[in-house]
């Protein structure tokens, strides 16, 4: 086989491999494995909520879009369809209870359902921000203490 043919074939193979890699890791890349993402901050649920109440812009810059681990006394667990939410209540407002709402990864729905109100828990989730009534954590997992 002539050298230039080898070079062209080689380049085509490299091109195909590069294309497949771009497809897999860029275009079709997976969502993070939320359960195994390390928490950027570990705080008490009360301090976390207070940070947003005190200065929501500073808190948003610090926490929004990051993985946050919270510790505290759970107030209740709510279930709507397949969405299970562990709730820390710290205030009352126009929307009733206000605090930190942690929606669970499906995998942790059953475990969250079994959490006892008033029990100490540690949960970890991706912070979506503060909607003027609650701070919302999503894709949450329960951390064994």
């Amino acid at each position: 086989m002539k050298t230039w043919v080898k070079i062209v074939l080689g380049l085509i193979v490299v091109g195909i491999v590069a294309g497949l890699l771009v497809f897999k890791f860029v275009y079709n890349k997976q969502h993070p494995d939320y359960e195994n993402v390390e928490a950027a901050y570990t705080v008490t649920a009360q301090d976390f909520y207070n940070d947003y109440k005190t200065d929501k812009n500073a808190a948003a810059t610090k926490y929004n879009g990051k993985m946050i681990a919270l510790t505290g006394k759970l107030s209740k667990v709510e279930t709507v369809d397949s969405l299970v939410t562990a709730v820390f209540v710290f205030n009352q407002g126009d929307f009733g209870d206000e605090g930190v709402r942690c929606t669970m990864l499906k995998k942790f729905n059953d475990a969250a359902d079994k959490l006892q109100p008033d029990g100490e828990v540690k949960v970890k989730g991706f912070c979506s921000g503060y909607n003027e009534t609650d701070v919302v954590l999503e894709k949450c997992s329960i951390i064994n203490q």
């Binding site: 948003a60 009733g96 909607n131 609650d134």
Partner: protein, 184 residues
């Protein structure tokens, strides 16, 4: 400004109705859908705050942009970082009225047409919108539904040329919320 108006409406709703007849949810659902010849793009948000005051018709929504979930991680990244800039504009709000609220009989199960008018704030831009939807009264709960289109350019959302063909210029928005009577 957006949050102030959201709260002003809430305060107004409370003030106007001594006997607050308020229906609320924190787990409403909103879907974005964009269809183009190359690709369909869908995003789901199941963390929508909404309140309706039956006595005044006052109606508010608040949506955190980072709560929208896309099938593809890359789309979600582009949506947050390039299109809606969710670090800069973390939420979208609607504050307005159901103008024919008197037609919604909360004492009787049934489906009632709703005319909704108000201001939608998205990506830091506020526009008047007027849409039709429905409320279904069912076993003490009020199920609100609406489907409408918004033009991305109206909200200063620019889509780069190289991906512009993958995303249509209008986005279909579907709203589906189940409101419960507030205990207060």
């Amino acid at each position: 400004m957006r949050t102030t108006s959201f709260f002003l409406i809430l305060v107004l709703m409370t003030a106007l109705s001594g006997n607050a007849q308020k229906y609320i949810t924190k787990t409403g659902y909103i879907k974005f859908y964009s269809a183009s010849p190359l690709e369909k793009i869908e995003a789901h948000n199941r963390q929508v705050n909404s309140a309706l005051d039956i006595s005044t018709g006052g109606f508010v929504f608040k949506v955190l942009m980072k709560s929208f979930e896309f099938e593809k991680a890359l789309m979600q990244e582009h949506f947050n970082e390039n299109y809606v800039e969710s670090d800069k504009f973390p939420s979208a709000t609607f504050a307005g009225k159901v103008t024919n609220i008197k037609d919604v009989n909360t004492g009787k199960d049934g489906i009632y047409e709703a005319n909704v008018e108000g201001k939608l704030t998205l990506h830091g831009v506020t526009k008047d919108i007027k849409q039709k939807g429905s409320f279904e009264m069912k076993q003490g709960r009020l199920i609100g539904k609406a489907k409408f289109n918004i033009a991305v350019a109206d909200y200063n959302i620019t889509i780069p040329g190289n991906v512009g063909n993958n995303i249509s210029k209008t986005i279909e928005v579907t709203v589906d919320i189940t409101l419960d009577k507030a205990n207060m």
